[in-house]
Structure formats: C-alpha cells, structure tokens
Symmetry: C2
Subunit: 260 residues, 2 copies
Amino acid sequence: MLAVIAGAGLLPRLILEENPGLLVRFEGAGCETDAAEIVEARFEQLGVLFGELKSRDVTDVCFAGAMARPALDPSSFDPETLALMPRVLPVLKGGDDALLRLIAEIFEEQGFAVRGAHELAPGLVAPAGSLVGEPDAGQKQDAARATAILNALSEQDVGQGCVVANGLCLGIETIQGTDAMLGFVADTRARHGDGGVFVKRPKAIQDLRIDMPAIGPETVVAVAAAGLSGMCIAAGSVLLLDRPAIMDAAVAAGIVLWAE
Amino acid sequence: MLAVIAGAGLLPRLILEENPGLLVRFEGAGCETDAAEIVEARFEQLGVLFGELKSRDVTDVCFAGAMARPALDPSSFDPETLALMPRVLPVLKGGDDALLRLIAEIFEEQGFAVRGAHELAPGLVAPAGSLVGEPDAGQKQDAARATAILNALSEQDVGQGCVVANGLCLGIETIQGTDAMLGFVADTRARHGDGGVFVKRPKAIQDLRIDMPAIGPETVVAVAAAGLSGMCIAAGSVLLLDRPAIMDAAVAAGIVLWAE
C-alpha cells in the first residue's frame, strides 16, 4: 500500500490517479487535495502517524508537493517525535534539502520505502525531445551554456534554473525560486538583447525521490514575460504540472519547449 | 610616459594623482575627468591616436573606468581602424570581456605595455584584513560559502558577486551587475531571514589589467538595503572607489567590511 504525503498543488492527486493509495495530510502543510482514503497527521505526533500507516499496511511513501513549515507545538510532541528532535532541530534552521533528506531517512528507518513521483507517475516527466516547436541553433547554444553553468554550480547545492540569452547569463536561480529569478530577468534585461532560454534541471546532489524540480503553465507565462523564446528541461527529471496546460501555454506564448 | 585611457568615474583621476601621465578621452566614452595633459581621441581614428601617443613618448597605457560603446561612424575610419575592423566587429556583439581583451591586445601590438590600475595605484585595493569591524563566525562561514560558489562558477565566465545569508544563497551576480543583484536580494529575501554577506571577487579568468571589480560607497548602501550585515572583497583585486567614503558608509550602515 502507498501513502502519498501531501503538500500543496496538483501532484498528490496526479499520483493517486495512477496508483492505488491513501493520502496523508499534515495539519498546516497546505494540502488541499481530497482522496477516498485520508490520514490526518500532525508533525508533533509522528509516532501516531507511523502506527497508523503500519496498521493500514503501508509499505511505500511518496512525498508530493511543497509543504509549508508550520510552527511546532512542543507540548504535544509524542515520545517518538520527542526522540527525533535532537536530529530534526539542527536541520530546521538550514535549507529545505537537508530537512527533506532527514525526513526521508526517518521514514526509511521506520521500514517504509520512499518512492519518487517520477517513478510512480512516469507520465509526469518528459523524455528527451521536443514538446512544443524545435529549438534553433542559437537556442541550443544558449541552453548548453546554461546547462554548463548549472553543472558547475551543482556540487554547491545551488541552482535549479538558469537563463542565458545570446550567450550572456541573465539569471541564476537561488533559494527564492524560479518565479523570483524570472521576474528579475524581466525587470533587468533591457540592455541585454532579446530572446534566450530558461533551463531547468535538478542539482546533481538532489534526491529526486523527495524533491523534484517542477514546472507549470505559470512557469511558461513567466518565461515569456522575461522576454525569452525557449525553455529546456532535464529529460526524465522535471515534473510537468500539468502537461496539456503547459503545452497550451507554450503554444500561446510562442515558447519553444524541449527536454534533453 | 603613461597614458590613462579614461572612461567614466573617479578612477582616471585617482591613477593620475599617483602617476605622471596624460589622459586620453574618447569622444562619447563618458569621461568627465580633466588633467593637465589631454589627448582627445575618436574610436574611428585609432591610427591618429597611436601616432599621437608615440610622438609623446607614451610607453604604458592603463584602461580606467567603464567606457560607453558609442555608435561608430564608418565613413570617418582611418586606415588603421579600417584594418582592425575584421577583428573588432565579431567581438562588438559579444560581452564586454572579449572586447576589452581585444582592445588591450591591439594596444600591445602597437608596442604599448598595458598596466592595471592596481599596479599603478596599489592604495586603491585592500590587503587581507579588516577594513571596518570584524566578521563573526557566521559571517565568515557565509563568506566562505559565497566564495566557493563564485569559484565553482569562475571557469564559466559568470559571477563577480554572491550573497549568502545563514548558509542560504540569495543571489549570484549576472551580466546586469552588482546593483541589480543586490536590488533583487532586497526585494525577494523576506522569507529567508536576516543578515548575510556579499562577496565580491574577480572571476578566475578575468584580466585585471583591463577589467577589475570595483566597489564604491553606493555599493555599501545597496548591501545595507539588501538587509545584509557584511561585505567581503578579494584582497588585492577589488578597487575601492573611494576608500574613505566606503569606510564611512560601512560605519554609518553598521556593515562589517573585510578583505581576504
């Protein structure tokens, strides 16, 4: 039995559409998805959750969608959660990646297999090739330079996205995310020509089982608003949420979209 | 004899204060500096300029201050300029670095030695050590992470600046420059804590004789506006324009400033 541990957005529903399973909704985590079978959970009561999942014969878990970090109420910690705090607290201050890795580790220690969304719903990622239009030589060159920049940064745990236009790097994604970076490019590129390509890839050290880069139609709109003409995603490792709407948005905005 | 080939800003004057020499002002390049001895020049008449410099026994040239790229009038090219065009034109479309490297190369072919501002006025750069205040352990750690990010990018010809706060990377400088990047951090950091450090360093492949990173008091003001608490510059290779005003601004804004 699969349990989808659900954050915000469409992903939990898309995974449950293709896999039998139940939905785990943490209080305050921002999940708005419904399902036939739901387990309501609290971050302070992980022992209760583990027991509940085991009693329902859950063997696999999938973390789906970004979860908000709620304020914790220490007075309601159950013994299991309390015992985990010495490991969780130091990581709470750091980046999302470290926290997610620890949470996945904790679920694995409890005997659950942590599965990636791309394994459970392979239709959510794109194989290498064109999705909308065909990149021209200049777009391919810009995409190659952006990819080289992301690869160089990858070991530093920075950068899921990069914008290059006519060989010039106009933006590198930092912790504020894709939309902030594309907004920066839109606001500041005036003197630096037209066109260009946004490349989205996971970091080399990113654990795709718990944290996959994702794009949606709003990403395509932001790419167009930044004056770019193309978007290139990593084949097999960027979630398309959802694909028909993304492709419609790319066609409407005249954006070439491909995976490689 | 030294010729300072002058762009905008304070740098040409600061170099001439410490070195005997003449000032070369290109029409339309944005130089507002005066000097005892001035040669007015045009980008279309490089042969005339080379002759003039040689007749005045100029042996060394120093490129100082950013130059605007004026529209060229091909009808007034002299033969030397015309002969250089097959090399200059392809580079005019690219980044500043390639153009500056080519211009330095052309002056060297004419027999001039190209000198860096930091050689001619060593007081404009800072040796390793504190300038204002002392960085604490957290600031040193943030600076080390920002430096690691810049080093990783260096071979890609991207990144003279990076902001890290509490271990999180909030900004990486792209072609739009330091002010745009610090503005982005100011606008987008809300959810990502206080403090943090801006690190400014040349790229590994940067030719310091023709293009040095520089900071001014306005940089310190932008660092403070981005909610940062510290600024770390590369020892010996970032120009301080001008140092007393920069230090005053750092003291006024409560910014720790050091070189390493």
